[in-house]
Symmetry: C2
Subunit: 209 residues, 2 copies
DNA sequence: GTGACAATTATTCAAGCGTATAATTCAAAA
DNA sequence: TTTTGAATTATACGCTTGAATAATTGTCAC
């Protein structure tokens, strides 16, 4: 019985690999089907080693959620970039409705974590942080856009507008990710940009990139 | 060691109780924490009996998903009722954004099932059926509303409008269910009705009930 | 009544789980 | 070179799991 070759890696690499393997597992088998053995297999290590880097399986899953949340936010922020507010908002919408965010595995992951938010307090905290930042981004974009249009920004209006735009994008993201075949006759990005413009009282084509 | 009292129930009652218990379990502990023993406990029967009514645990979970899907649709259809299309659409929006649909447990359930759609083909089929019916309802409402306004219904436009309205409502439903405290300064129903009107090119107050 | 039979409870089983610990390996300090 | 100690692998443990089966109960045809 051949012994598995002994291979050392820096702590950061191990943590990264483990989190990545965990995300793959959850996407593939769901939270219920994610076991430390399977994660270890995907990460190319031995199950026992997991506990050197994450005290329990629970912690590992929490770290994975935090990673997913951070990755999604980072992807979008990169795509938004700099420039006029209308352009940034248009890019924001595009980034939300194209790969890598639109992906059935990403949706599976997101849903699995969301379902755990009510069960687990730690997961709830991670969710709250991620979500706050996410919506604050939208709010800033809409604020900037308001100023850019020469209007007086009213915080309650900005707040509700950001909720509406955010809901629209979230809803489209979910539906598109879950059954893209229902959307094949539509340019989802352009469509979402038009809808966003409508919600903000803009011309339908003022939100293109 | 006292033996549990022997109690017979009709097949329909047993199936109903088991499904209900399953939904409670999933909402409370997640899919990962839902075991046949826990379900049996909640249903007030012995674990072994489950297999007389559902061949496997998988089937039980599938039945539970189908039930949730049917219940949600039924709740909304009841609330919509009869009358002018604008009124029905307004009621549709209200039903989607009030109890019993808006509920953290319902959201947990929904998310748990959605996360399984990619993993399990049977769950995917159940989802497809439920979702098709759901969006067809919106499409019909918007079609009727178009006719009511004396406009010529263009199927591609109706299709995309129903996608937008549906996405908006879904997004608001999720966000409101998951963190209602972020919405306490807003009348979500009235707000959603206004947004829906905007998306459809109506006056902001043409969609009230 | 009573015997057969389906519904229910109780028990059992093998497999897989998260975790703990023991045994090994390797690199770097001494 | 030798020793030490952390990183890794391997093994073991106790428990829970879904499922199968055995034992019991009550109903109903006859």
């Amino acid at each position: 019985m051949a012994r598995r070759p002994y291979h050392r890696e820096p702590e950061a690499v191990r943590q990264h690999d483990l989190i990545e393997a965990t995300l793959e597992c959850i996407a593939e088998f769901g939270l219920a089907g994610t076991t430390v053995r399977e994660v270890a297999l995907k990460a190319g290590i031995t199950p026992g080693l997991i506990r050197r880097y994450f005290h329990t399986k629970e912690r590992l899953v929490e770290a994975a959620y935090a990673k997913l949340s951070a990755d999604m936010t980072a992807t979008i922020n990169e795509a938004v970039g700099e420039g006029a507010a209308a352009l940034r908002l248009a890019r924001f919408i595009r980034a939300n409705l194209t790969a890598p965010l639109v992906d059935s595995k990403t949706l599976s992951l997101w849903a699995a974590f969301i379902s755990a938010v009510n069960t687990d307090a730690a997961m709830a905290a991670i969710h709250r942080d991620g979500y706050r930042g996410f919506r604050k981004n939208v709010e800033t974009l809409i604020y900037d856009l308001t100023v850019e249009r020469g209007l007086t920004p009213i915080s309650s209006l900005i707040h509700s507008q950001s909720i509406a735009v955010n809901a629209l994008i979230d809803g489209l993201w979910i539906e598109f990710s879950i059954s893209p075949e229902e959307f094949n006759s539509i340019d989802v990005v352009a469509f979402a940009q038009e809808c966003g413009a409508r919600l903000l009282g803009l011309d339908p084509n003022q939100l293109k990139d």
